[in-house]
Symmetry: C2
Subunit: 316 residues, 2 copies
C-alpha cells in the first residue's frame, strides 16, 4: 500500500490542514482523524479536526478527542488543505458547498462520486486507519503512544477487533507494531466493549427479549416506548443489529428502530455470502454485502412481517 506521491508532496509542502470525517463517527473515522492530526502536529504542521456530530460517550477516552470541533467555518479564512477521511463525498462529512485550497480524500469505502483533487481510496484496506498508518510511516513520522492508540482503535473498530472477514495477516501485523509503539489492547477493549451505561445495557436486554427467529432470519425491534423507558436514544444502539447473529442458524440479523418522527430505521447484517444490500435496495436503501439499511414510514410490526416475507422469497 504505497502512498501516492502527490499526497506526500501536498502534505510535505502545506502547513494547515482541515481533517474531516463522516457524520455519526465511528472508531475508524475518529481514530484516523486524531492519529493523523497528532502525527502531523508532531512535525510542526497545524491541523483542525472537524466532525459535525458529537463523539459517542465510549469514545471519549481516545487521546486528543477534545481536538474535535463541530464547526469549522472560522478557520476557512486560513485557507486550509482538506483531508477527508473514512468517507469520500462532501455530504457524508457535512462539508459540501465549501472550497478548500486543495482536497485530499483517503478512504476505503466504495465511491460513486468523484470528489477531491487527490483521491486515495483502497477498497482492500480493512480500515482507513490502515491507510493512515502507511501514510504516517512514509512521511517518516515517529509513532507515539497517542498516534498508535488512535490507529489501533481505528483498526479494531472496523475489524470487530480482529473478528471480521477483513482481518488479514497485515491487519494483525500492523496492530502488533502499534502495540509496540504503545497502544494497549486490554485497555482499549475495556473502553470499547465494557463501558456501557446501564441504560444502554437495559435497552439491549429489552430488544433481545423480543428477538424472533424464522428460518435463517433474526429480527429484533426497539420501540419509541423502549427508548423512553430506558432513557436512551438511537445512538445507544450501535452494534445491536449484530447480536442475533450469535445464533448459529441466523444468517441475517435485523434491527428495527422506531424513531421519533414516525420513521423506522432498519439495519441488516449478514454472515458470509448472504447479501443484505440487495434486500435494503428493495426498500429504497443500500449498503454493503454484509451491512445495509433503509428507512420506512411503515409501522414497525408491518415492516417486520414484510421483511420475513421478502427473506423467504429470496431463499427460494
Amino acid at each position: 500500500m504505497k502512498t501516492p506521491e502527490e499526497i506526500l508532496s501536498v502534505i510535505k509542502k502545506e502547513d494547515f490542514f482541515l481533517i474531516a470525517s463522516h457524520l455519526d463517527p465511528d472508531g475508524d473515522a475518529l481514530g484516523s482523524s486524531l492519529g493523523l492530526s497528532i502525527a502531523l502536529e508532531s512535525i510542526g504542521k497545524k491541523t483542525f479536526v472537524y466532525n459535525r456530530d458529537p463523539l459517542p460517550e465510549f469514545y471519549r477516552f481516545m487521546p486528543g478527542c477534545n481536538k474535535i470541533k463541530s464547526n469549522f467555518k472560522n478557520i476557512l479564512k486560513k485557507n486550509p488543505v482538506l483531508i477527508l477521511l473514512d468517507c469520500n463525498s462532501p455530504e457524508r462529512a457535512a462539508i459540501e458547498g465549501y472550497r478548500f485550497k486543495t482536497s485530499l480524500v483517503i478512504d476505503h469505502h466504495e465511491t460513486q462520486k468523484d470528489f477531491g483533487d487527490i483521491r486515495w481510496i483502497d477498497y482492500n484496506a480493512a480500515a482507513t486507519g490502515m491507510i493512515v498508518f502507511s501514510l504516517i510511516k512514509e512521511l517518516g513520522i515517529t509513532f507515539t503512544k497517542n498516534i498508535a492508540t488512535n490507529l489501533y482503535i481505528a483498526i479494531a473498530e472496523d475489524t470487530g477487533t480482529f473478528r471480521y472477514n477483513n482481518t488479514t495477516a497485515k491487519v494483525l501485523a500492523t496492530s502488533a507494531e502499534l502495540v509496540g509503539y504503545g497502544a494497549v489492547p486490554g485497555i482499549i477493549s475495556e473502553n470499547l466493549y465494557e463501558s456501557w451505561d446501564r441504560k444502554r445495557f437495559d435497552l439491549l436486554v429489552m430488544a433481545l427479549n423480543n428477538l424472533e427467529i424464522k428460518n435463517e432470519v433474526g429480527i429484533m425491534h426497539i420501540t419509541k416506548d423502549m427508548f423512553k423507558k430506558t432513557g436512551t436514544s438511537s445512538k445507544d444502539t450501535e452494534n445491536f443489529s449484530n447480536y442475533s447473529k450469535m445464533v448459529k442458524t441466523v444468517k441475517i440479523s435485523t434491527l428495527i428502530r422506531e424513531t421519533g418522527s414516525g420513521v423506522a430505521r432498519i439495519s441488516l447484517r449478514s454472515k458470509g455470502n448472504v447479501n443484505v444490500a440487495k434486500i435494503a435496495e428493495l426498500y429504497g436503501g443500500g449498503g454493503h454485502k454484509n451491512a445495509a439499511g433503509f428507512k420506512t414510514k411503515s409501522d414497525i410490526y408491518e415492516i417486520k412481517k414484510s421483511l420475513f416475507k421478502e427473506y423467504r422469497k429470496l431463499n427460494r
Copy 2:
C-alpha cells in the same frame, strides 16, 4: 521463549506421544493438543490425543478434532511419552496414577505441584498455544493450515480474541504469522462467537434479565428450572460470567449456577486490578486475579445476598 533443550531432545528421539490436556477443555487446551499432534505426525511421529471430557459443540470445527479420545488405557502398553498441555497436575487431566515412559509438561498456568520429568511452564505466555508455536518452530516443522488454525484458536481463546490484558505485540505478531500459514480469522470467529444454539441464547437472555447491579458488582443467576426450560446444561454457560462486565460501573461480574446436586457453582470475573481470587477463597474456592470461582451448598439467593455483603466489606 526458547524451548528447553531437554524437551526438544525427547521429542526428536521418541516416536509415540500421548498428548493430554485439562478436563472441561477450552480452545487453548484443544488447539494446543491438536496443533501439536498434527505437527508431530507431519514429521512421522505417532500421537494419541486424550481428553476425558467431550468437546463442546462449537469447537467441533477444529481441524482434526475427531482425533480426541476420551480413554487412553489401550495405548498404555505401547509405553507412550506423555505431553501434558495447558495444565500441570495429573488430576486436572484425569491421568493420575498412571506411569509414562517420560512426562513433559507444557503450560502457562500457576503451579503448586511438581509433576513431570521435564517442565516448561511460562507464566508470561498468553496461551499454551503460544508456547506450542515456539516448540513447533524450533523443531523445524512446516506450519500447515490445520496446525495454524488450531494454534490460532488456542491463542484467540485465551486472549478473548485479542481483547484481554494479555494481548501483547508478540501475541498479535504470532497470530499474523499463523494467518500467513492459512488460519482464517473471520471463519474462526464465526465458529467461536456466532454458532450458538438457540437454546443457549435463550438461556443467556434469561440470565441477563435477572442481572442485579449494586455498587460495582453485577450478579446473574441460573436456576435448575431455567436449565430445564431451555433444555440446556452447565456446559452451555461458558463465558456468561463475563457479560455484566459490559456495564461500565461493574468491576466484578458474577454468575451463580444452580446445579442438579444441590450445589451452586459461582464464577467471578473482574476488571483491571480487582482481585476476585481473594473473594473466592473466603468461600473455599480459588483462581486468578481476574477469574475465580467456588462451590457452595447454600441456596442461590442466600449466596447472592452474602456476596453483595462481602463485596461491600471489601470496598471499605
